[in-house]
Symmetry: C2
Subunit: 368 residues, 2 copies
């Protein structure tokens, strides 16, 4: 036997040992075609119905899949605009990720899959041939929350390791409900967005810090969930920030600190930013779950706009059910004479827009 063939046997044996039982046929899903239509496939020989949902579609809708003779269901959708999307299947009432797609959208509970569609133009979220920063995962035992060590994801910009005397500003960046600490990296491509902005001299080199936003376990009863934002505030300011400032070469002071987030994390960034205006010079809120008691809770600080973060920037898509909250927030701030940028956009409640918002917000920060 030729060595190559023997090696192949060895690798195949290993593959079989490591993989799930190969009972199902080899299914390719998703398959992105050159015209940007996409075919999704699912082996479910005994299912009576299967449907597809992609996060660019209207909530509550779905695309029916049809079954082939080999037990493989399929549907072709699109053309789909270049981007990264989240999708799932519903098979006989059961919501699942795509079983053969390795790109999983990790979540606090339940999971889905990621679809990436490339176009002719370079997109700000795409990994380009520019210097790449480093994503890091730290573990910290939280005094505020107890329990196991919690992970904190972060990003250090290109050159961080090679510039041992340089200190960097920090953007604390929060995910949404039912996401994980790494959501902004694994689905948001925040690291590639910053790499590209920094390479293009559109943003200052900065550190991103991404803690896990569920201080109260996700899925807890509503009365416990209600405590999440204040508990997270305490966790962030008492555990995470001192930890980061002791481990990273962080530039000191308010002018080198910003805070932003999406959805639940947008609510958190507003809550924490307005609770500690002495700590942050900028607040960003993307499709934010603006706390409903915002006006009442921050009545006193709203009377002193000069003490608030200088940059207050929020955006939301018009198809997003949280749109009105941002609109109302803008009205409130206007009424109180608080300078801010309210950026209504097309779009819905997805990373498609959050990536774009980050690419617009980051360049506003830490300019000298």
């Amino acid at each position: 036997m030729r060595p190559a063939f023997i090696l192949a046997s060895a690798l195949t044996a290993a593959a079989v040992l490591c993989a799930q039982p190969p009972a199902s046929p080899v299914v390719v899903s998703p398959e992105v075609h050159t015209d940007r239509t996409v075919t999704f496939r699912l082996y479910a020989p005994k299912a009576s119905e299967a449907a597809f949902f992609g996060d660019w579609m209207k909530t509550g809708t779905s695309e029916k899949m049809t079954k082939g003779g080999d037990g493989v269901w399929s549907v072709t959708v699109g053309p789909v605009r270049p981007g990264i999307y989240i999708y799932h299947f519903v098979v006989d009432g059961m919501t699942i990720a795509d079983p053969v797609n390795p790109r999983i959208k990790l979540r606090a509970r339940t999971s889905a899959s990621l679809l990436e569609v490339r176009g002719g133009e370079p997109e700000v979220w795409m990994p380009r041939d520019v210097p790449h920063g480093t994503v890091r995962i730290e573990w910290q035992h939280s005094k505020v929350l107890g329990g196991d060590a919690r992970w904190i994801w972060s990003y250090t910009p290109p050159g961080y390791e090679q510039s041992p005397n340089r200190r960097y500003p920090v953007l604390y960046l929060f995910h949404g409900s039912n996401d994980i600490a790494g959501g902004w990296i694994l689905a948001g491509n925040a690291n590639f967005i910053l790499d590209n902005l920094i390479a293009g001299k559109k943003a200052e080199p900065m550190i991103l810090v991404m803690p896990f936003g569920h201080a109260v376990p996700f899925g807890s009863p509503r009365e416990q969930q209600a405590k999440n934002v204040s508990l997270y505030d305490e966790y962030l300011t008492r555990d995470v920030m001192p930890f980061i400032e002791s481990r990273y070469r962080v530039a000191p002071g308010r002018s080198n600190r910003a805070i932003a987030g999406l959805s639940m994390g947008g609510g958190q960034s507003l809550f924490i930013g307005f609770s500690h205006p002495e700590k942050f010079s900028a607040v960003g809120a993307f499709s934010a779950a603006v706390p409903a008691d915002f006006a009442a809770r921050f009545a006193a600080v709203l009377k002193k706009p000069e003490a608030l973060p200088q940059t207050i920037w929020f955006a939301c898509g018009r198809e997003d059910s949280l749109f009105d909250r941002s609109e109302k927030l803008s009205a409130l701030l206007k009424d109180q004479g608080v300078p801010h940028t309210w950026h209504p956009t097309p779009g819905n409640h997805t990373y498609t827009y959050w990536r774009q918002y980050l690419a617009e917000f980051a360049p506003l920060l830490f300019r000298r």
Copy 2:
């Protein structure tokens, strides 16, 4: 309305927006009971059969799940020994991860779920209250492989950032077939194992470097897969190692470099370690897919045992179908007078044993 309640509404709205359509009842899975039995649950109202497989079970077996009136299938297994296990469901012939368990076993293709069972005793893989190192993800554009930037996961030991003049030895650590670069972290807990060994002064502080082992795309035809190990060798030595040695404070020379892996990665570590004996002072192979042509390919170097890595250590479980390959490798090395440690153990082809092997192998490295 009390503020807390209003916030709760906000968070719930956000949760609904971010989560999958909440058509199914709230299912808890897995649920580890105090006696270490574990209940798995799956909402599949229209399924006609569902089964469970955990990686401590004999390959090809499964546990039948039974359907409750609410459409939730369940099974209770165990008691299960403390550990981290990989499991999946088979629903009407479709193999899926647990849809509600956030701990996904990411793979090159297909996915499964992770179950963690704690016991009374501290285990070497558990995050303990000791200093934690940092996990890092780097992106590099590979000249050898082309295409998109590839990620490289790594681990720097506690104190790395605080000791800017210290250089560290490196263990290149490889995953198995159908795994991802981060497999040794996300399923292997290699970072916690090293944290614990270093805290207990049982291992030298070292850097771990974990590239993605599928140089040829996983799932390629067999004749292409056969080229994986030599292509990976080229990728590792021409791209990864220079990149790491230019970015990390790496102690120079063979005596500060080791190579190890599991399954396919064990085959790779033997292949690369014996191909470049001048680069590595130690080779570890866990449940290795030992290349079948090993004797022929390395006939020349086997005749010069003094030039080979000083530490050659391999282990495999007696229930592992790759057991015989390690046994034969030991016979070959003995025959050629090559000093080595062959460590047959109980166990099968799972991370349960690979974690243990790492905890036994790492203390042998870089001792002065």
